[in-house]
Amino acid sequence: MVTVTRRGYVGLPVERTDAIEKVQGKARYVGDVRRPNMWYGAIVRSPVSHGFVEGLERDPHFDWSGVVLVTPDDIPGSNVVESLVRDMPFLAAKEVRYRGEPVALVAAPTREAAHAAAAAVKPRIRRVPALTEPDEVVRVFKAGGELEYLWSQEIRKGDAEQGLREARIVVEREYRTGYAEQLYIEPQGMIAVPQEDGGVLVEGSMQCPYYVQPELCALLNLPPEKVRVRQTVVGGGFGGKEEFPSLLAGYCALLALKSGRAVKIVFDREEDILFTTKRHPSWVRHRTGLTREGRITGWRVDFLLIGGAYATLSPVVLARGIIHAAIGYRCDDVVVQGRVVRTNMPPSGAFRGFGAPQAFWALESHVDELAEACGMRPDEFRLRNIYRGGDTTTTGQRVPEQYGGPAVLRKALELSRFGARYAHCSRGRTMSDRWYGIGLAYFCHGAGFTGDGEARIRARAAVELARGPEGGPAVVIRASSTEMGQGAQTVLRQIVADALAVPIDRVRYPLPDTALVPDSGPTVASRTTMVVGAVLYDAAVAMKKALQRFVSRNFFDGEGCVLEEGTFSSETGRSLDFTRAALDYLRTTGVQQRFEAVFSLPPGTQWDQERFRGDAYPDYSWACYVAEVEVERATLAIGPIKITAVLDIGRVVNPVLAEGQVQGGLVQGIGYALMEKVGVAEGLFEAARMQTYIVPGALDIPEIRVTFVECPYPYSATGAKGLGELPLNGAAPAVGNALKHAVGRRIHDLPVTPEKLFRAIERKGDAP
């Protein structure tokens, strides 16, 4: 549908590569894959939240023939998950630290038989005291009681105490968020297939093949060439398939190697919600000093996350959380103190936003409260206090003269007519049937890994020239970035087609397979379009140059030439078609030609990991949401009616896909704001089904208006910045602020529900 123009494909709404097979039901998700003689696996889990394993008893009445059992003793390699803190076992051998922690595995010919066998293994565990409830953690923390910390990190700029002393007004408030579930609609699943050489092939639903592969090598004590990991079509991830799939892959692989058969585990919804990662619950306290004119003199933030039983990704979630905790507003004297508490719950983990949604719920609610404290409007206060070029962020990163923040804020205020509408907010005072409120949130997301992450990973990606299925030449993208719905496949093809100047249908992007692709880093942190896109652009340019040299030598008698819109043209006007040239090149040089490139950070990037000082991210994407809500006065039912979203994600590679990311992320954010909630009861997540964990449906969503402002990343050819996570970050505070102006009461902990509004109104007379 798209024709080649001089402009190329970047910036055009190219149709998704994978849409047709998905819409026809032909895409093969892991649940759709069956292997010959395949067995099914199941997990034996700890029935207690904390204790010591004294044995595993097998029910003597159960028929154990045709069942394979794997215990920690069967693990050929190391029984520990490789992460920053190597504290989590694949199978708990001595101490169990959460209810449901895996202690053994079984496989059997049918799924029913496997689950029956798992139920017939009884772990004997000596119980010891456990800490499971987030409320209890916060209570103990505030009382100065003893807690175990998985990680702590501080950021310090200037002298916050001094700044607070100089203030005329000091505002101190606490904000909280609870557990939240990614709820990708395709549950976690994996298949392991033993190979003749003693190795294993693992395929399944995952975001990061190169997290899984080294993990399996260590667990199985196998060299990398014997462990092959392949992605199947992924039915949504949102971070939930970042670190967890390594565990599931390990379980399937252990069972496959012991049974000598393919083994599949696909969770049902309940097991998936109960025992996979959740968003970290948070408690954040802001203490902020202001001048009478509404400038910030000093700022102290205490940032507490609940990490669960093991550290896993918590240190990096905390890093992102504290960097975003007081970002966007000018202040020379800031301290942010971050901690992750250990509890006896499944490890909290990655979920779109990765610490930033918690940070912005607190920050953007708080900024509204600051405005109020000095008698300013929320928009005025923000316009006065946002960074100007040359300011520094909390970590001391210099804000460039031109950045997207002011533009998105002004544009969102203008498009939503914030000023005029703000005057009409009900504030719980009008007698009409519905209260109206409007509120805003101004926020950002650091694109790519935090700190020295990108420098350490050195993302690699390649393009290959090969013969396509129909015999013509194909440019094949070799990158480990996964398509999980976000559109990576399409966007990266657009970028490569443009870099080469060939028609996009010449560019293919098969699902990653570690036997075939280099490590481009994980598909996380809003880094794929920006980082891997930049690398692929460079790789494709290298291919283009090689092809141009070849054509000039072999067809144009050494005359220089350029490849444009699928045709090589020489200086004197001779021309040659890409197809012809590429096939000839392949014949001459061999079967496949690979061109690889590596990511480099902007020149002069500095980061001090100890002190958390310096350039925390290569760049930031900025956004402003204005939310309008209605609240029924009689029932306090909440109806978001409209969101005006303005975002700077740098160059927009595909406007339709980008808009889809914003709409989807925003709606997840509305769920976080108003309905998504998982309590804890006896060490288990309470909302373990879709009947009880409610996410937004088609009737729950407001009118959404999305506008992009382009402030490109200056250090790559594409100019794209991060997109994936940003849209979720600001939804909750925008809605929360709007509700405050509708009802006249502020709710400090998510989700905001009619019950909480009711209680807040009942308590009239308290501080607002």
Binding site: E270, G485, G697, A698
Partner: protein, 175 residues
């Protein structure tokens, strides 16, 4: 599924024989009476377009049409479906003109992300358009309220159904 591991273990003599019209083709099977229609479609008949997202009627990923009504195939067991029942899955709809129009509208609107909810969405959309050829936006949202999508925020899905309705209307009017 692991909640009720025993439900399919009916002794072979209790199995029932059923003949259904699946995507227009007659299919005869002998199955345990409590085997879920979703499993029969996916495992026995290889029709994996209907997905399992929750197994309890909440997500709609398993939506198929039985005698023109949208149902959750995960909630239906073999014994509940009499002989001659007509089952339509995404595979069957794809082969029909209406299916083609709907699919094209979904693709063009950018309504597909991870795709896991999409076959169910398309089936629910088709069921709506069968009974209401010119639905309002509100009616589209109501018809899709039982189908959860975690990726798209529904905006483009609703748009796609609107587009498809228009085109089917045009096609029906012979233009």
């Amino acid at each position: 599924m692991n909640g009720e591991p025993a439900r399919e273990n009916a002794p072979a003599e209790d199995w029932i024989r059923r003949t259904w019209l699946v995507n227009g083709r007659e299919v005869s099977l002998r199955v345990p009476p409590l085997r879920r229609v979703l499993d029969i479609l996916r495992e026995e008949l290889g029709l994996t377009g209907a997905k399992e997202g929750c197994g309890e009627g909440e997500c709609g990923a398993c939506t198929v049409l039985v005698d023109d009504q949208p149902v959750c195939a995960c909630l239906l067991v073999a014994a509940q479906l009499p002989n001659r029942s007509r089952i339509l899955t995404i595979e069957g709809l794809s082969a029909m003109e209406e299916g083609r129009i709907l699919e094209e509208a979904y693709v063009e609107a950018g309504a597909v992300q991870c795709g896991f909810c999409i076959p169910g969405m398309v089936m629910a959309s088709y069921a709506l358009l069968r009974r209401n050829s010119a639905p309002t936006e509100r009616q589209i949202r109501e018809a899709l309220a039982g189908n959860i999508c975690r990726c798209t925020g529904y905006v483009k899905i609703v748009e796609a159904v609107g587009r498809a309705a228009e085109r089917m209307g045009r096609a029906a009017a012979g233009r």
